[in-house]
């Protein structure tokens, strides 16, 4: 599904959305997502402890970022001794999708005061975006949307940070058979699966993985940026050859 498809996705149950309490509607919608979020949060907390972060650093890291996959990547890079710029850049690149969410967010709350919008954007995450883009139709007014969004966001933040605190202190107490260490690669795989549209993206992913494995061990975590630069070049070449083939087929 492309970004435009997501932004244009029709709201579900528009009539219902207008007449139902936004808080109860939000709690009902977000409940299954919270269940899925908890093991992920536990895994991040456990990874923070394993990578030598203090509890304060782990919790503040969660609150500063409010983005699990970026935090997980940052925690791993910090543990491997990567430089500050690399950690920050990697997290920001992973979060580039938030620009797309920001387009929708700006539309949902365009009648709200600017200061409110700037504050409400702090907890904008994948899950709140997906729920709100499906719920907010023509018949929902600003107050309904605001209460719904804030209820969803508050629930997500509580489970996200609370789960991390539990995961941090449970740490070694979590049986390895639960496979929480697998949460990181599973989440990266999930996000990757949604980004493999077209030949260019797939070529970029494969070449990045290969280059990274070959170069791993370079000082300062340089393997990652080098792999990404090579991947963008390879992806661009694959993209262009795909376009050429399409043009040749069309003519």
């Amino acid at each position: 599904m492309s970004a435009n498809d997501l932004l244009e996705a029709p709201a579900i149950a528009e009539g219902e959305a207008g007449s139902t309490s936004p808080v109860s509607g939000a709690l009902r919608d977000v409940a299954p997502i919270l269940v899925a979020l908890l093991p992920f949060a536990l895994a991040i907390g456990s990874a923070s402890a394993a990578n030598g972060l203090s509890a304060v650093e782990a919790v503040l890291g969660a609150l500063f970022l409010l983005a699990g996959s970026a935090q997980l990547a940052a925690v791993g890079l910090i543990g491997s001794g990567a430089a500050l710029a690399l950690v920050a850049t990697t997290a920001i690149v992973i979060n580039l999708r938030f620009m797309i969410y920001s387009v929708a967010f700006a539309r949902w709350f365009d009648e709200a005061p600017r200061l409110h919008r700037l504050a409400m954007a702090i907890p904008l995450v994948d899950q709140s975006f997906v729920l709100c883009v499906r719920r907010f139709g023509e018949r929902t007014d600003l107050a309904w949307r605001r209460h719904y969004y804030l209820t969803v966001s508050a629930s997500l933040v509580v489970v996200f940070t609370g789960g991390q605190v539990i995961g941090y202190f449970a740490g070694a107490g979590v049986p390895p058979g639960l496979g929480l260490h697998l949460a990181a690669p599973l989440v990266f795989a999930a996000m990757l699966a949604t980004k493999l549209d077209g030949l260019g993206g797939a070529a970029a992913a494969v070449s990045s993985a290969l280059v990274f494995v070959v170069l791993v061990g370079l000082p300062g975590g340089l393997a990652l940026p080098v792999a990404v630069v090579v991947a963008v070049i390879v992806g661009s070449l694959a993209d262009r050859s795909g376009d050429d083939e399409e043009e040749a087929r069309a003519s």
Binding site: F40, D110, V228
Partner: protein
């Protein structure tokens, strides 16, 4: 300087700017086609590197990955690409790992 809090603060500030980019920018994506196409490649490239890092790298060195973990991740990748639902990764990948662990395969 290695300060995790500073790293998180910088990453968080950059992420916040992405979140409010359209509130500040009037709701329009300023990216050109050229930039958009490069960005669509950077994200899978970073994710692929992080994925192989999680599977094949330990303490900064290459390691032989657990075949069960590779299988679980491959199944998750397939499930998400078929359903488009990100939650399918944990819903499919973890049970595969649990079953293999119960069978003594890990």
């Amino acid at each position: 300087m290695r300060s995790p809090l500073l790293m998180f603060a910088l990453a968080g500030a950059g992420t916040y700017l992405l979140r409010v980019s359209m509130v500040l920018g009037g709701g329009r994506l300023p990216a050109t086609d050229w930039i958009e196409r490069r960005v669509t490649m950077v994200v899978p490239a970073v994710l692929a590197a992080l994925l192989v890092s999680a599977l094949f790298v330990s303490n900064g060195e290459r390691q032989v990955a657990d075949p069960v973990e590779i299988g679980a991740v491959a199944a998750a990748l397939f499930a998400v690409s078929r359903t488009g639902n990100i939650n399918a990764a944990l819903a499919v990948g973890l049970p595969i790992y649990w079953i293999a662990a119960l069978g003594g395969l890990t």
